[in-house]
Amino acid sequence: MSMEQFQDRNVGKQNYFTVDIEDYPVTGMDKFRRVAKRTFRGELFVGLWVVLREMFKFDIHTVQYPKEKLPIGPRYRAIHQMQRLWESGTERCIGCGLCEKICISDCIRMDTRIDENSRKEVTEYSINLGRCIFCGYCAEVCPELAIVHGGEYENASEQRAHFTLYEDMLTPVDEAISGKQKEFPGFGAITPYEDERVKKTPLAY
């Protein structure tokens, strides 16, 4: 469908039609006539028939939640995950601190140090899920595609403060090396076929 008809704001030119609403009855006789008409036109029986038909069709749409679960969209923002690089299995997080900085509910806390190879290394990293509003800013800001939102949404807990640590979120190293780490597990990661979609930055004004 083209966007044309949504962008055309000239009311009256499109295919609008006004709904046919009968005048409300004013006099008692008119009201009675309407009731009689509605009674004898069998609308009530149409209603009965429709629900009975649905009962016999038995086309049940219930999802029995703890036993079956609906798939959630990959862009759903549930509990965070920390990704690793593919072949080396190195942690992607470079400890830049952008996520901590941007987090609007101030629930990321991290500590870093410079390791032997003069690389920054994360020593402490925790997210207080009791405060997190799952806005996705951390995943969006991360320059390394390190922190992403996964699909784990069952996180009810007995306490308000509920922390998840770096180690819990991190993909296990063997999984990353053997190529089992899912590259598009959630919000913040690059979507598949990103190469085809990428466009040149338009520089010409």
Binding site: F32, L44, L48, V51, E54, M55, D59, H61, T62, Q64
Partner: protein
């Protein structure tokens, strides 16, 4: 009065109480299931196979919940109100023949507690007293929603009592007796519904109002999210309201089947089965309409009662009167 009669009556009463309390429980289960299937859901599924033990779970919950008497309620009235609903429902059942006579171990059992000669009058009258349950409960609750609901209950019951009575009058005129057994026997060749279709329709409409079921579910109006007159109730007191409502539904179904739909016929085993089948269908009809039909507003309900149904009922009586007079 001999001892055997008293013992027999007591046994009948106990059986009736147990059976219909249990049926009220099963009624809630069927209601949930039927409504769910009609709305493409599954209904209760987790407690027991197909959720069957849900009834037991609900029972345990109702019995063990704390019985809260809120501040500012008129405690004696508040406490007695649910009992009125349940008790009148069961009292009304005393004059209803639930099955034809049958013989058990050489002893003839009449499954009616008291075949009083004013059966219909008694049943309808006692059911009407049930109005005091919601009314007093709502008024004593010190809660404005309950109060409004009580007002609705009073207006609905009072007006539909009239329709019930007038609708029943013409079958009574035809039969010439108020006993439900006589009514049943009168229909041996042709059901009352064929000779009195108008009265049948009126009675069914009034039955919906009387039991507060869906097209007229504005007494405990669920759409207000709260439970009308039952808002302040908890535990078994609330449960009594429920048992009363469902027992009433069963008894009204029995009444309709007995007066209009041929009852148990000639009293054979098949006749008894047919009666149960008719009652089951009428009960199902109560649930069915709940899935299909919208509710009416209180003013529409009053309008329907006083300006439409009552004149029709009176006309029906007049016509029946003439027919009875001229055809003998």
């Amino acid at each position: 009065m001999d001892v055997a009669f008293i013992i027999e009556t007591i046994i009948k009463i106990v059986v009736l109480l147990l059976v219909f309390s249990a049926l009220a429980g099963f009624g809630t289960y069927f209601e949930r299931k039927v409504l769910a299937f009609m709305q493409r859901r599954l209904g209760p599924m987790h407690v027991g196979p197909y959720g069957l033990l849900q009834i037991a779970a609900d029972g345990v919950k109702l019995f063990t919940k704390e019985d809260i008497i809120p501040q500012n309620v008129v405690a004696p009235i508040f406490k007695i109100a649910p009992v009125i609903t349940a008790a009148t429902a069961f009292m009304a059942a005393a004059a209803i023949p639930f099955l034809p006579e049958f013989t058990l171990f050489g002893y003839t059992v009449r499954p009616i507690i008291a075949d009083v000669n004013i059966g219909v009058l008694y049943v309808v009258g006692v059911m009407a007293i049930g109005l005091y349950g919601p009314l007093l409960g709502g008024m004593a609750s010190a809660n404005k929603w309950s109060l409004i609901s009580a007002a609705r209950a009073a207006s609905v019951f009072i007006s539909y009592e009239v329709v019930t009575g007038l609708a029943l009058l013409s079958p009574i005129m035809l039969v010439g007796s108020l006993s439900l057994i006589d009514m049943n026997n009168y229909q041996s060749d042709s059901w009352m519904v064929w000779s009195q279709p108008v009265a049948f329709v009126l009675f069914v409409i009034a039955a919906f109002a009387e039991t507060g079921r869906t097209p007229f579910h504005l007494i405990a109006n669920d759409h207000e999210i709260i439970d009308g007159f039952g808002t302040e109730y908890s535990g078994m007191r609330w449960g009594l309201f429920f048992i009363g409502e469902y027992a009433n539904m069963f008894f009204i179904s029995f009444l309709t089947a007995l007066i209009f739909l041929g009852g148990f016929g000639d009293g054979s085993f098949l006749g008894a089965l047919a009666l149960l089948g008719k009652v089951a269908f009428l009960f199902f009809f109560f649930l069915w309409t709940r899935a299909a039909w919208p509710d009416v507003r209180p003013d529409q309900l009053m309008w329907l009662c006083w300006k439409v149904l009552m004149p029709i009922a009176i006309l029906n009586i007049v016509v029946t009167g003439f027919v009875v007079m001229f055809k003998g």
